[in-house]
C-alpha cells in the first residue's frame, strides 16, 4: 500500500516544486523525471496486486483491485510519455513567443496537479472523494486550456469551466442521494461512502433512490466523458489548449470519468437488479457514437477532428459497459486501454504536425510525409489504428463490442457498423490530403521526438495480436467484478 501513498505524494511534491522553483531552466526535464518515478511507483503497486490480489488500505481509504490497477499504470505511462513530448514542444512554443516563464511554471505545476487528481480518482475507495478529485481535475486543467490567452482559448476555458462545473454538480447530487440511501440502511458515519462497504451491502440499498441517483451520476460524470449532448466543451478545450494537455485530457480524463460511472453503476446494479442503468448508458453511448462520427466530416481544425473521434470512442465504451455482458465488459476494458494509448499518440503527432505547418487548419496542413516522413507516417499509422484496422488493438475491442451487440441486441449491430464506417470515412477524407501530396513552400521540419508515439502504437499493435497473460487476467477479474460472469 506504500506505493499508493507514494503515488499521491510525488505529484504533490511536484506541484510545490514547480510553484516555487518553476522558473529554473529545464523544468520540462524535471517533469519527465517526476512522471517516471510515478510510473515506477505504479509498477510497484501493480506487482503487489499481481502477487497479493486486491489491496485495501488499513483505514479503507484506498482500494486497488483488478479494475483500477491497470488504469493506474496506464495513467502513469501516458503521463510520462506525454511529458517526454511536452518538454521540447513547450520549449518550442516558448521560442515562438506564445508563452513566458510564469505561464510555463503554472503549466508544469498544474500538470502535476492534474496527475494527482487522476491518481486520487483511481485509488480512492470513497466515492465522495472521487467526486472531489474529479472536480479537482477540472480546476487543475481549466487554466491550462487558456494558457495561450487568446480570445478563443479564454472562451474555450470558460465554456469548459462552466459546463463541467455545472455538469459535475449533478454527480454530487447523485452521490448525496447514494449517501442518503446508505444512511437509511443504518450505515451512517465515515464508512457510509466507502465503495467497498457499499458494494458489499448493495442489495440492501433502496433501489428507487439509487435509480434516481444514477441518472444524476451519469449526467454528471457523463459531461466529463463528453457524452452527447453534453460534449460541447470537449472539442473547444482540446483545440485551444496546448497539445500535451489535449493528449492527457483525451487519454486520461475521459477514461477516469467513465471509470467513475462504472464504479457507481456496479452499486446501482447491485441494488436495482434491473437493466435500467445499462440501458441509460447504452442510449447515451450510442447517441454520442453516431453524432460524433457525423461531426467528424465537418471539421476544419485537426485537433477538433480528433477530439470528436474521442467522443465517438468514449460513446462506444459507454455503450459497451451499458450492454453489461461479460464479453461487452471485457471489450470495453480493452478499448479503454487501446483508445487511451492510441489517442494520446495521435495528439502527440498532431502537435508536431501543427508545428511543422504552423497552423491547426486542416486545409493548410499538406504533404507531411514529404516534409518530415516520421510525422507523416506517425499520423497515418495512428489514424489507421484509431479507425479500427486490424491488426491494431482497437480492431480487437471494436470487434468484440460488435459481437456482444449481435449477441444481446442484434438490431443495434447495423447502427454500430454504420457508425464505424462513417467515422472511418470522416477521418480519412481529412487525413489523406494532409499526409500525402506535395509540401507547401516554406514548410520546414521541426525537432520532434516520436519515440512516445512509436512505443504507444507498438503497444496497441501488441494488444491487438496477443494480450499478455497478466493483463488478460486483470481484465477477466475486472469483468467478473463488473458483470458478474467470466468472459469467453
Amino acid at each position: 500500500m506504500i506505493a499508493a501513498y507514494l503515488l499521491l505524494i510525488i505529484p504533490l511534491f511536484g506541484i510545490a516544486f514547480f510553484a516555487f522553483a518553476g522558473h529554473k531552466a529545464d523544468t520540462g526535464k524535471v517533469n519527465v523525471w517526476l512522471n517516471a518515478v510515478s510510473l515506477l511507483a505504479t509498477l510497484w503497486l501493480a506487482i503487489n496486486v499481481l502477487n497479493g490480489g486486491t489491496l485495501l488500505s488499513a483505514d479503507k481509504a484506498f482500494l486497488v483491485d483488478s479494475f483500477n490497477v491497470y488504469l493506474i499504470v496506464l495513467t502513469a505511462f501516458v503521463g510520462l510519455t506525454t511529458s517526454i513530448f511536452s518538454a521540447p514542444y513547450m520549449a518550442h512554443e516558448k521560442e515562438l513567443g506564445k508563452l513566458n516563464d510564469a505561464r510555463l511554471k503554472m503549466y508544469h505545476s498544474m500538470y502535476q496537479g492534474f496527475m494527482l487528481a487522476m491518481y486520487l480518482v483511481l485509488t480512492t475507495n470513497n466515492i465522495g472523494v472521487m467526486w472531489v478529485a474529479m472536480e479537482g481535475a477540472t480546476l487543475a486543467t481549466v487554466l491550462l486550456v487558456s494558457l495561450y490567452r487568446t480570445p478563443e482559448s479564454i472562451e474555450a476555458a470558460w465554456k469548459y469551466f462552466i459546463l463541467c462545473g455545472v455538469g459535475i454538480a449533478q454527480a454530487l447530487f447523485g452521490t448525496i442521494l447514494l449517501y442518503y440511501a446508505a444512511v437509511q440502511i443504518g450505515d451512517g458515519g465515515d464508512n457510509a461512502l466507502l465503495w467497498s462497504v457499499l458494494f458489499e451491502h448493495a442489495d440492501k440499498l433502496n433501489p428507487e433512490i439509487l435509480e434516481i441517483a444514477f441518472v444524476f451520476l451519469l449526467i454528471g460524470y457523463g459531461t466529463k466523458i463528453g457524452l452527447v449532448p453534453l460534449h460541447n466543451w470537449l472539442p473547444d478545450a482540446h483545440s485551444e489548449g496546448p497539445t500535451p494537455m489535449s493528449a492527457v485530457l483525451s487519454g486520461l480524463l475521459l477514461n477516469d470519468a467513465l471509470y467513475a460511472v462504472v464504479r457507481n453503476k456496479m452499486l446501482v446494479d447491485g441494488a436495482t437488479h434491473t437493466l435500467i442503468a445499462g440501458h441509460l448508458m447504452m442510449g447515451f453511448g450510442l447517441l454520442s457514437f453516431l453524432v460524433a462520427a457525423l461531426f467528424l466530416h465537418r471539421q476544419t481544425d485537426i485537433k477538433r477532428l480528433f477530439s470528436y473521434s474521442s467522443i465517438e470512442h468514449m460513446g462506444l465504451m459507454t455503450f459497451a459497459f451499458g450492454i453489461g455482458g461479460s464479453m461487452a465488459t471485457f471489450a470495453a476494458l480493452l478499448h479503454m486501454t487501446v483508445h487511451s494509448l492510441t489517442k494520446s499518440a495521435i495528439f502527440v503527432t498532431v502537435g508536431h504536425a501543427a508545428q511543422v505547418a504552423g497552423t491547426q487548419n486542416i486545409s493548410k496542413i499538406r504533404g507531411l510525409i514529404k516534409t518530415q516522413p516520421r510525422i507523416g507516417w506517425g499520423l497515418l499509422m495512428g489514424t489507421v489504428a484509431i479507425a479500427g484496422f486490424p491488426p491494431f488493438g482497437v480492431f480487437t475491442s471494436e470487434f468484440l463490442v460488435l459481437l456482444a451487440t449481435m449477441h444481446s441486441y442484434p438490431w443495434l449491430a447495423p447502427l454500430l457498423l454504420l457508425g464505424i464506417g462513417i467515422a472511418f470515412a470522416g477521418l480519412f477524407r481529412h487525413i489523406q490530403p494532409m499526409v500525402y501530396g506535395d509540401k507547401p513552400e516554406g514548410q520546414m521540419p521541426v525537432k520532434a521526438n516520436l519515440l512516445p508515439v512509436m512505443i504507444h502504437l507498438a503497444l496497441v499493435l501488441w494488444l491487438g495480436l496477443a494480450i499478455p497473460g497478466f493483463l488478460a487476467d486483470w481484465f477477466s477479474q475486472a469483468t467478473v467484478l463488473i458483470s458478474g460472469s467470466a468472459p469467453l
Partner: protein, 225 residues
C-alpha cells in the same frame, strides 16, 4: 399531517427550505447585479443557519465546522469578490433586461414542480421533511442552471454556479446530516479554488473582450461556417 403538529426542528427545517427556495427565485428575477449578489449572500446565510441548527439538534461537532466554512466562503468571501468585480467594471448601475421575464419565472416554477415529480418515487421510504428538503435542493440546483441560461453577465453565471453548490449542500446537510468530514472539506476546498479561478477568469475575459458579457464569447463553432 399539518405543520403545527410537527416538532420544532422539523418546522424550522421546512421553513428554511422554503426560504432558500424563495431566495433562488429572487435571484432568478433580478436584473441588478449587486442586488443579486446580496440575495446570494442571504441564501448562504440561511444555509449557515440551517447547518448550525442541524449541528445543534444532532449534537454533531463537525457540522459546526461546515457552518463556519459556509459562513466564511459563501456569505463573506465570494459575495465580496463578486461585488468588488461589479464595482470595478462599473456595472452597478446597469440594468440587465431579461428577455421574457415572465417565461423565465414560469419556467422556474415548473422546475420546482418537476423536482417534486422526480423525487416522488421515494416518498414511501422517507419522511415528508426529507422529501421536501431533497426536492427543494434539487429545484435550487435547477433554478441555478436557469439563472445561468437566462442571464448574460459572467457575474450572474458565477452566482448561478455557486447557488447550485448551495442547493447541493442543503441536500447533504438536511437529508444526511452532512457528508463525511473528509468529503466536506474536499468540497469546500474545490469551491474555494473555483472562486479564485473565477476571479482570474474575470480578469482574462475583461482583457480579452473588454466586457463581462458572455454573449460576446462566440468565436468557437461546433462545425465550420
Amino acid at each position: 399531517m399539518t405543520l403545527s403538529t410537527m416538532d420544532f426542528y422539523t418546522q424550522a427545517i421546512l421553513s428554511m427550505a422554503a426560504l432558500i427556495g424563495l431566495t433562488s427565485f429572487l435571484m432568478l428575477g433580478q436584473s441588478r447585479l449587486l442586488r443579486m449578489i446580496f440575495v446570494f449572500a442571504l441564501q448562504g446565510f440561511l444555509l449557515t443557519l440551517t447547518t448550525a441548527l442541524v449541528a445543534y439538534s444532532m449534537d454533531n461537532g463537525h457540522l459546526y465546522i461546515s457552518a463556519a466554512l459556509t459562513l466564511v466562503l459563501k456569505v463573506m468571501f465570494i459575495p465580496w469578490m463578486l461585488r468588488r468585480e461589479v464595482i470595478k467594471m462599473n456595472m452597478h448601475r446597469d440594468v440587465e433586461v431579461l428577455t421574457n421575464k415572465t417565461a423565465v419565472m414560469m419556467g422556474g416554477a415548473s422546475l420546482m414542480v418537476f423536482s417534486y415529480y422526480v423525487l416522488h418515487p421515494i416518498v414511501h421510504t422517507t419522511t415528508t421533511v426529507m422529501l421536501n428538503a431533497l426536492a427543494v435542493s434539487l429545484s435550487v440546483v435547477l433554478l441555478g442552471m436557469l439563472l445561468m441560461i437566462s442571464h448574460r453577465q459572467a457575474i450572474a453565471h458565477v452566482v448561478g454556479f455557486m447557488s447550485i453548490e448551495n442547493g447541493l449542500f442543503f441536500a447533504a446537510i438536511v437529508a444526511t446530516n452532512g457528508m463525511p468530514m473528509v468529503v466536506e472539506l474536499g468540497i469546500a476546498f474545490d469551491v474555494l479554488v473555483a472562486a479564485v479561478l473565477f476571479g482570474i477568469f474575470f480578469l482574462h475575459i475583461r482583457t480579452s473582450i473588454d466586457s463581462l458579457d458572455v454573449d460576446l464569447l462566440n468565436r468557437l463553432h461546433e462545425v465550420d461556417k
